[in-house]
Subunit: 405 residues, 2 copies
């Protein structure tokens, strides 16, 4: 008998009909002799409605009260799902995040899990229950309800699977798994049977929205095997794990595009120690997440420095740089918001050369110009014009023959 | 500086506009130098919507899951109200029933308060907060969320006021207080300035829906002075307390009508010991609440026995009596569902005679026939035809000159 943790997102439990379908799926899993723990998100648009309600009374609601409010969304889901399971004749019991033993810090709306004490969950499992847990929430040190922030329900599921030493953690969503790239851009995109944690981490941070990087990091740390699959079909999903098939043979696992990049260039900086440090200190203070950075040598001891930030942060970044520009001695700040970052990801790169060459050749053949390049052990990224983003993804997908994945 | 507990019902917090009005009222109370604890119900139709949702997944939902679901209604209210108070620049903090220290038994959906441990409430008050508490809910011995059942939020407010030794417990509702009778039936009905606990208890159990008897009993037991008033006007309300003005001079405080009564008559019972006991045992087993009872002597050692029950229980009652009819030896069971119970209530009756005479005379003068009569120390009730109910209330209200109250 296996212990399986399943997580159903908002679109999987959008309405009563969806709830009943999910209940049927849980019954199938339980009838096969498995112990089942289920983590659920709020039903469909519930969270949006609660957010709207809050905005109507306060422009900037208190984080603590916001969590008190939003956590009701999952609480509705768990009780309705428990009732739906009862209706199928199954033993089931619902639990809020605090009841299930998620102990967090007190950073309301973006709390971190500090400890797991699923004493009641374990007891209820031992008594033969399917345990339905409210995702996304926990108990703060002061006894308040906290929420884990974006993608929090995935994290709840992975953390519970790790603590209970579950055999599998299934994340049900509205797509069939992790794809070689966005199927809306490349119709031939193939669903991956398996993907390594590190690859998934890169893909998640590069804009593949299936799993939040935070959950993947947690899964990697505790060795939780995740399966991403659709709650609307019976197709097998994608396994996210440490060791995957063809790990070294397959050079590239996927192609990702992040279309919300801005490139910021600071002109004519003095080529002296400490200049870059002061510049990026100013950006850090403004809470800007800088991604790629390059520095060009230019004449007369002057240099140009370029970096990328999320488009939304472009104005804030420009303002932050302008504040120190006089002091560090640059001439001007140029912002180009119409950029995209295209990346190929694969753990096979670690032991294979030639990926960069193949990537740049493919992009060149398609007339895509590269503005910046950055690499990691298992990823190569290039900054290109936004208008060429889809074309770039398509030519890279074809060049690495990912439709055969 | 006084400590005031305020309770706002569902109609007082029906939508965001109502919430803001309530926040303004709380601000006025706080600005006057009072400490304020607020108990709120779910917003408007929230509870109805949640009940509907539950019905869509299960015909008879588990009580525990039902409480898990319904308690979200108040949790939404408290966080929204806290945000509305923040928006007015006030320090406020919301608390669920469990957080506020309502310890109940495990009778889900109709839990009883077993203990009060408002440690956090007291601390938050001491720190200068307005404390907003979810009414209607508490924590069961197994650590689950329980609900107190009908009228539970009033009880939450009264219990919190008793425990904190509050100076006043204000119950805000959509009427301006307790009236001498239903103003829809008697336009001259007067709002009472004060009413004694015992009178309110009789009025509550006789169909005046302003306060549930359960809350009044609790207030009487712990000496909590309740003020019933409207959240939509600034008019003073009705004080419910032990000693009231003109306690002995005023014979009658109010007239109540309960229009959902059925009269059941069992014919030709043998006039022997044990017959009534067996009859009412059968009714008790069927969970029927019997109200008035009379027994007529008739010829040849046979007797007719009549009693009243809520109309909704008429069929169940008839079935229960029929089950034992053969054994106890009656001839037939007659049900008349079209009855109303009219009552006059007043603590002044204790020390004044003549109320019954005046009541019966007034009814006779208006052509109202009496089928049954029952009395307590502070109340006289008569069962009459439903069709005469409004006429009876009007003539009694006039006879006792209650418009002058």
């Amino acid at each position: 008998m296996a212990l399986i943790v399943q997580k159903y997102g908002g679109s999987s439990v959008a309405d009563v009909e969806c709830m009943k379908r999910v209940a049927g799926r849980i019954k199938t899993t339980a009838d096969a002799g498995n112990s089942v723990v289920v983590v659920v998100s709020a039903m469909g648009k519930t969270t949006d409605r609660l957010v709207q309600l809050a905005r109507e009374v306060h422009a900037d609601p208190s984080d603590r009260e916001y969590d008190m409010l939003l956590s009701t969304g999952e609480q509705i889901s768990i009780s309705i799902l428990a009732m739906a399971l009862h209706d199928l004749g199954l033993k089931a019991v619902s639990m809020t995040g605090p009841q299930a033993g998620f102990i967090t810090d007190d950073a309301h709306t973006k709390a971190k899990i500090m400890d797991m004490k699923p004493v009641r969950v374990q007891r209820m499992l031992d008594e033969g229950n399917i345990v339905i847990i409210a995702g996304f929430q926990g108990l703060s040190p002061s006894g308040d309800i906290s929420t884990l922030g974006r993608g929090g329900s995935d994290l709840s599921a992975v953390a519970m699977a790790a603590t209970l030493k579950a055999d599998k953690c299934q994340i049900f969503t509205d797509v069939e798994g992790v794809y070689t790239t966005d199927p809306r851009v490349v119709p031939e995109a193939a669903k991956l049977d398996e993907v390594a944690y590190d690859e998934m981490l890169e893909l998640a941070s590069l804009g593949a929205k299936v799993l939040q990087a935070r959950s993947v990091e947690f899964a990697k740390k505790y060795g939780v095997v995740i399966e991403v699959l659709s709650s609307f079909t019976d197709a097998p999903g994608t396994l996210v794990k440490e060791e995957v098939k063809n790990m070294e043979q397959l050079l590239v696992r996927g192609v990702a595009a992040d279309k919300s990049q801005a490139k910021i260039t600071v002109r004519d900086l003095p080529d002296q120690p400490g200049v870059a440090a002061e510049l990026f200190a100013a950006l850090a203070e403004a809470n800007v997440n800088v991604d790629m950075i390059i520095q060009n040598m230019s004449a007369e001891g002057k240099t140009d420095l370029s970096f990328t930030v999320p488009s939304d942060d472009a104005d804030k970044s420009k303002a932050a740089v302008n504040k120190v520009l006089g002091h560090i001695g640059g001439s001007e700040v140029i912002v180009d918001s119409e950029k995209a970052k295209i990346s190929v990801v694969g753990v096979g790169m670690r032991s294979n050369s030639g990926v960069a060459h193949k990537m740049f050749q493919a992009l060149a053949d398609s007339g895509v110009n590269l503005h910046m390049i950055s690499t990691s052990e298992i990823k190569i990224s290039a900054l290109i014009d936004m208008s060429k983003a889809d074309l770039a993804v398509q030519c890279l997908h074809a060049a690495f023959e990912l439709e055969k994945a």
